[in-house]
Symmetry: C2
Subunit: 482 residues, 2 copies
């Protein structure tokens, strides 16, 4: 009956959970940052370059003006009664703020909302989804959340009973999924994306892994699809086949994260299709596939990570299951209202003819075009370095170059009890100040090693990042050459 | 290997979890609200009076002007460059917004922060705690959270391994604790507050329950103290004895929620002392008691529930345990920045001499004085109704009158498979539109029945609420008289 609080007596699920994006390398980077502040000049570099996390505004990306105008007015509605406000805010921001306040009972942005979020805002979001997909969406299916992560946790909590319940995840996958599965005590059933075909999703691989899991007695309860890919950056264009071939509806539903990066598409030969649109297009005799789609205000061109806004759209579940989901949502009362408002804004941005439209378009296009240029430049540069290969970033905010490490480097890593990519990333950080997330945090084919870079550093800094990286890489490879 | 998603195959911990505050009565009230909107006049009342949830701004309580000015400026920092802003915002709000923005790397309120929250804001909060308690506080001990609830979940997740791990909770307790313990699969070890002594905490009861739990093989891992009480409204003034008598430090730590209602004290003979202050005063040879204190921007005089701001202060744990807590916090990246800013503001409000100080004092005092009057009026009224007794509300936002139900009412409830207080509350809602939370959602001594009322309805409405309630109660009691 051990009761003392020590690591040995903590919940073992917590101990097993790993979260690479904020793991060893990220924590060490924070320490170096503090050291630079305390003792400038004490390190071989003068700034830390956080290429490890999709956090656009931390790199100086400016928020969309219209969104922030509306938020400020909703935070302090007294402004709407003042004459000066007309010269400080665009007319459509004022109109929108008034509309949103009218949708909130008592205009009270400081009150708890309905557990799923403010009904009027969910109506706006449903209309935005319907207009995107060409299929109806229902406010009752929307659960507003503090970013996308809490929605993922809620679904894991709902579905995972024990370690015989499996969730199929792509490998490499965003570490939220593996962390959440570990915290809820389930089994991660991997399906490997094919690096040689640009991180393609192969139906044969899905089938093989599914059968393998079942043969071990694992009940596969959900399929996670991340599109555009994180950390892999591919855009998946053939969901249709996946759902049909696996006849998903008969035995499981798909957790899916299609929308988080839905605006972040950098190639012209592919476009974003929501999984819901594909599913609805398939008909299924009018019976919806069980599907949960996650959206977040953290990504897209807006990149409002700190606002913690997002939603999940939940379709195809029975009323009794939905009631259980509602109950879990209720235990945390509601998501933050600022994030709720922002989620409604990104799904209903200014339209042609609105006073803010031109500025909005300029801001949006400039961000997306710059991201596309950065993605292209970084992929090109990585592929020009010996011992590195890198698939194209078609979408999202990441690229995942493969580092072909010599055996001696792998042995040196093993000698200090580290995964080779962690060993490499730590050395990279200590030498250059560049922070990346090692591929082992996302999973990778055994014997291959990767690093996740975001494409977010400012364009003017990319050449120097690349050259610092190249110089480090060449020295590292020379040191450990077989 | 059941894989179909139905209630039968969901996580049984979710099924076991109950959350009374948003349970059956609250859901039914939402349906009635919709019915009133669709078909005015179709019910025996023309408005729903939500006395079931501590949500001050939903009752028209206005936010503190200074706080909202700062939030608006931080949401849209471009305003700080404009001349008109000087006439729209108080000078100290402008100064504070600039200070806060300077504390945020890159002035980016849209960026993810450190997993524990922005360091500069944690410094402000630590200074506020130190100034309140007279003992130092450390920014590294602060975890900013989306309201207080996620912090409670994190601690439960960290500590609960299985159903042999127990958390001691007061009965009646705020349903977050029972819900979170159920979701994490632990055991709730009750200790009963003594209604006859104004919901007093008796050390003999704590000892008895602790020994009882241990004799059943339960490892008691935490003691939850809610002060001021929710749902019970008492102010606990003798923590010292509790901690000393149970020699807590030797075997468990205390989850504690002292600060959420720290400003909401309505009696003059008691004052709020934080558990941390008491613990530090005790010395313990310089070794801190393991203590987690939760604060939220949702309560106090500010009542900013929708902003989802809060923090926990974590002291006395080893570095390795703290690292695990940091990891859990990291999986959700960070809490929302608006809530983070607000948490720093409530811990460092305007001071004498600041431009906003006079207005701030007027706003704050008017809210707190009105709450005190409402608490007194409601307690007085309840005690004047036959078959009802009600302890004084010394703090927080609630009162928990006991309804002395006749046997026939208990049998009528049993016939429709409901707890007697749920049966009563449902009838109250259907007859009067008054929404309360039945005491069985919080736990109560077997055979006693209670209702939780908030003291939040506007003062001018309280007489009519009381008279509607009294009329209903008298009819109900007449119908079921033994």
């Amino acid at each position: 009956m051990a009761t003392s609080v020590s690591v040995e007596t903590l919940n073992p699920k917590v101990l097993r959970c790993e979260y690479a994006v904020r793991g060893e390398i990220a924590i060490h980077a924070q320490h170096l940052l503090q050291q630079l502040e305390r003792q400038p000049g004490s390190l071989p570099f003068d700034e830390i370059l956080f290429c490890n996390i999709g956090n656009p505004q931390s790199f100086g990306q400016k928020p969309i003006t219209f969104f922030r105008e509306v938020l400020a007015l909703c935070d302090h509605p007294n402004l709407l009664d003042r004459e000066e406000t007309k010269s400080l805010f665009s007319t459509d921001a004022i109109t929108r703020a008034k509309k949103i306040l009218a949708q909130i009972p008592g205009r009270a942005t400081g009150a708890y909302s309905h557990s799923q979020g403010i009904k009027g805002l969910r109506d706006e979001i449903a209309a935005g989804i319907a207009s995107r997909d060409g299929f109806p969406a229902n406010a009752d299916d929307i659960f507003l959340t503090n970013g996308a992560s809490p929605g993922v946790h809620m679904m894991m909590q709902l579905l995972i009973r024990n370690d015989r319940d499996g969730i199929m995840c792509p490998i490499p996958q965003y570490s939220l999924y593996s962390a959440s599965i570990a915290l809820h005590g389930g089994a991660l059933v991997p399906y490997y994306l094919d690096e040689s075909s640009g991180w393609g999703l192969e139906i044969s691989e899905l089938k093989k892994q599914l059968e393998d899991a079942r043969s071990k007695g694992i009940a596969v309860r959900a399929l996670v699809v991340i599109n555009p890919g994180n950390p892999t950056g591919q855009v998946c264009s053939y969901m249709y086949d996946v759902t049909r071939e696996l006849s998903i509806s008969s035995f499981f539903w798909g957790v899916h994260q299609p929308q988080v990066y839905q605006e972040n598409i950098y190639v012209t030969n592919k476009k974003f299709n929501s999984f819901k649109k594909i599913v609805r297009s398939m008909g299924y005799n009018g019976v919806d596939l069980r599907l949960v789609s996650f959206q977040s205000v953290s990504k897209g061109y807006y990149g409002e990570c700190g606002k913690r806004g997002g939603y999940m759209e939940v379709t195809g579940f029975s009323t009794t299951v939905r009631e259980q989901l509602y109950k879990i949502a209720s235990v945390n009362l509601c998501s933050n209202i600022t994030g709720q408002i922002l989620a409604s804004l990104v799904m209903n941005p200014p339209k042609a003819g609105d006073a803010s439209y031109d500025l909005y378009e300029v801001e949006k296009d400039s961000i997306l075009e710059s991201l596309a240029r950065r993605a292209k430049a970084m992929v090109f540069a990585f592929n020009g370095i010996d011992g590195i290969t890198c698939n194209k970033t078609e979408g999202a905010m990441y690229l995942l170059p493969r580092i072909h490490l010599p055996q001696k480097a792998i042995e040196a890593a093993s000698a200090v009890n580290k995964a080779p990519d962690v060993f490499y990333a730590r050395r990279l950080l200590d030498t250059t100040g560049i922070v990346v997330t090692p591929g082992s945090g996302f999973g990778q084919v055994a014997g291959t090693w990767h690093l996740r870079f975001t494409i977010l550093p400012p364009e003017e800094k990319i050449p120097s990042i690349i050259s610092r990286f190249r110089e480090f890489h060449e020295e590292f490879m020379a040191q450990y050459r077989d």
